[in-house]
């Protein structure tokens, strides 16, 4: 692996060879295979892929929250400012969670505890990480709600999650994640359950906060639209592998991996004359490989229209420049990441 390219001064988070295995009825199934990436200060990294490609598992693994059993992190390092999170004790990793690295989730409806007030859940997070009195924590909670643009925060803080709308709940989740001004915010499909206008509001909010605090964001999504709106750089994942990495421009305008190309082709383009609706969307034929019965070779090979004999062996991640890599024999330049 060419280390010099991943080690840049402003890298907040560096992930190396991160692998997660699941134990499925005694069989060891690899869910995440040697994923590498870096995250710069104030940068938004999009991780995109279809269901089951390992993108959420990556997020959980970063905070050592892989459900265990059956899962376990089998290999890899996650360096947060040169502190390897994988070697920390349970007690130490809890101090990272919610403080240095925060997470927001897909379902704002179910991600807040229904039986405690918004205020209770916010204050509890503040008290966990900061040495404050309950009254001061409450004041801070109200400030946080104001920061995430919740109207009448003094009122809202006494309410229960079921009294709030989906967008409001996601704002509360964001407020909760921002308690300690984390260095990294992991947003796992933060807007999937929300409608588009609310999605746009949430993204604007995240960008605003990012501009203020220089927080880095990892945005996990299956929605390329969300990626284009938010991300500076993009990682495309497939079947537990990182298959392509590049800047948003590179991925959007010159995708090199056939899977990325297929993903982009299958995006809905709305034309003014509505002719776009009459055309069936191009799709990637086939389906995601069965992780229980992995075939040797490129995981995308069986679905790839450009596959050759060579694809029966596993392609490495070929390095095409600074933070630009593609896991495909087509771009073989001999420089392996």
């Amino acid at each position: 692996m060419d280390d010099s390219l991943e080690t840049k001064e402003d890298a907040v988070l560096r992930v190396m060879n991160l692998s997660v295995d699941f134990d499925v009825k005694g069989n060891n199934v690899s869910i995440l295979s040697k994923v590498n990436f870096g995250l710069g200060l104030g940068e938004t990294l999009g991780i995109v892929g279809e269901s089951g490609c390992g993108k959420s598992m990556t997020a959980l693994a970063l905070l050592r929250m892989v459900p265990s059993p059956p899962g376990k992190i089998s290999d890899g390092e996650v360096l947060l400012n040169n502190l390897d999170l994988m070697t920390l004790s349970q007690k130490e990793i809890k101090k990272i969670r919610g403080k240095e690295i925060s997470m927001i989730f897909q379902e704002p409806m179910t991600s807040l505890n229904p039986v405690f007030t918004v205020g209770n859940q916010l204050v509890e997070t503040i008290l966990e990480h900061k040495d404050l009195s309950r009254a001061d924590a409450l004041k801070e909670a109200i400030e946080l709600l104001r920061l995430v643009q919740i109207p009448a925060p003094e009122q809202r803080i006494k309410e229960y999650p079921h009294q709030l709308s989906g967008g409001m709940r996601q704002r509360i989740m964001i407020a909760m994640a921002l308690v300690c001004e984390p260095k990294v915010l992991i947003a796992d499909e933060p807007t999937t359950a929300l409608d588009v206008t609310v999605q746009a509001q949430i993204f604007d909010l995240l960008k605003e906060i990012q501009a203020k605090t220089q927080m880095s964001i990892i945005l996990i999504t299956h929605d390329f639209g969300a990626i284009t709106e938010m991300a500076d750089r993009v990682i495309v994942m497939y079947a537990g592998y990182k298959v392509e990495e590049g800047t948003l421009d590179e991925i959007r305008n010159s995708p090199l991996h056939p899977y990325t190309q297929g993903l982009l082709r299958s995006m809905l383009v709305i034309k003014p004359d509505s002719s776009g609706f009459k055309m069936p969307l191009p799709e990637i034929p086939g389906s995601v490989p069965d992780l229980l019965n992995r075939q040797p070779g490129c995981p995308f090979g069986p679905r790839c229209s450009q596959a050759t004999v060579k694809c029966r062996s596993m392609p490495p991640n070929f390095n095409l420049g600074f933070k630009r890599s593609v896991k495909c024999w087509l771009v073989d330049n001999g420089r392996v990441e």
């Binding site: 929250m65 809890k94 989730f105 039986v115 405690f116 997070t125 229960y160 909760m176 308690v179």
Partner: protein, 323 residues
Amino acid sequence: MKQAIFQRIFLGIVMITAVIILNFFLLHAAPGDVVDAMLAEGGGGDPELAARLRASYGLDEATHIQLIKYLGQVFRGDLGYSFYYDQSVTELLLGHLPTTLMLTISALILAVVFGTLFGVYAALKPKGIFSNFVTVLSLFGYATPVFWLGMIILLVFALYLPLFPAFGIRSLPEPEHAVGRILDIIHHLVLPTFTLAILYLASYSRISRASMLDVLGSDYIRTARAKGLSETKVIFKHSLKNAAMPVVTLAGLQLAQVFSGAILVETVFSLPGVGPLLYESIVRRDFPVILGVLFGAASTTIIANIITDLIYKYMDPRIQSIT
């Protein structure tokens, strides 16, 4: 809120009245009355004596007249007069109730607390040894007839290892000091309470294990962990309050039975509780006592339901109204 409670209490009174009427007719539909039972006990008697007795007890009047008189009494707070014990039913109940309540309530508290704890710990490692132990214990508790369990416990802990008294609620002669008397009663209650608690505990550990497993997989628990909360807080604050709902439901149902609940245990351990009183009164056709016990049981049920609803509302704010 207050209005809702009053509404519930009013509804409760209506329901209790309905229960009394139903019980009254049921009892009178069965053949035989207290006079038959008394005469049978005394080796028979002539019809004239029977008629005189019936007249003196007011049993010669038409059933509906008796019912109206009885209802009138109950609303004045008088539960009637026991034919057999020659004592007012209220006094009789007050005499038997403390034993029963001490037994059932302490068993219920033990079962709820330990059953829930067992369930929670079992859910944390659903495939661990402790979890299997809880499952087996629960099945045992479910499947074992309580009188059998009571007798075994009696044999082992009162006969082979004479640690506890085998029957009754007090020693004879009673200890002189007040503290000594209290300790004596507790000493007598240990075995029956444990017998009943083991029986109850089975349900609580099973229910809380299942409900805890369910809650531990939910999104808000993941959130709680992602916030960096300690595992203690994740389990005893975030999970338990959500997982406790079925436990509250079950506890509410059993709270409704504390009044009359433990007839078998009381019989096995010869405790002078409400259970044996009810049983004997049925055998003796002592209607006022039976009706009194049933009235108490119905009232307890209704009060227990109101309490359960109030706890629900406290536990889960999504439950809007208690009506």
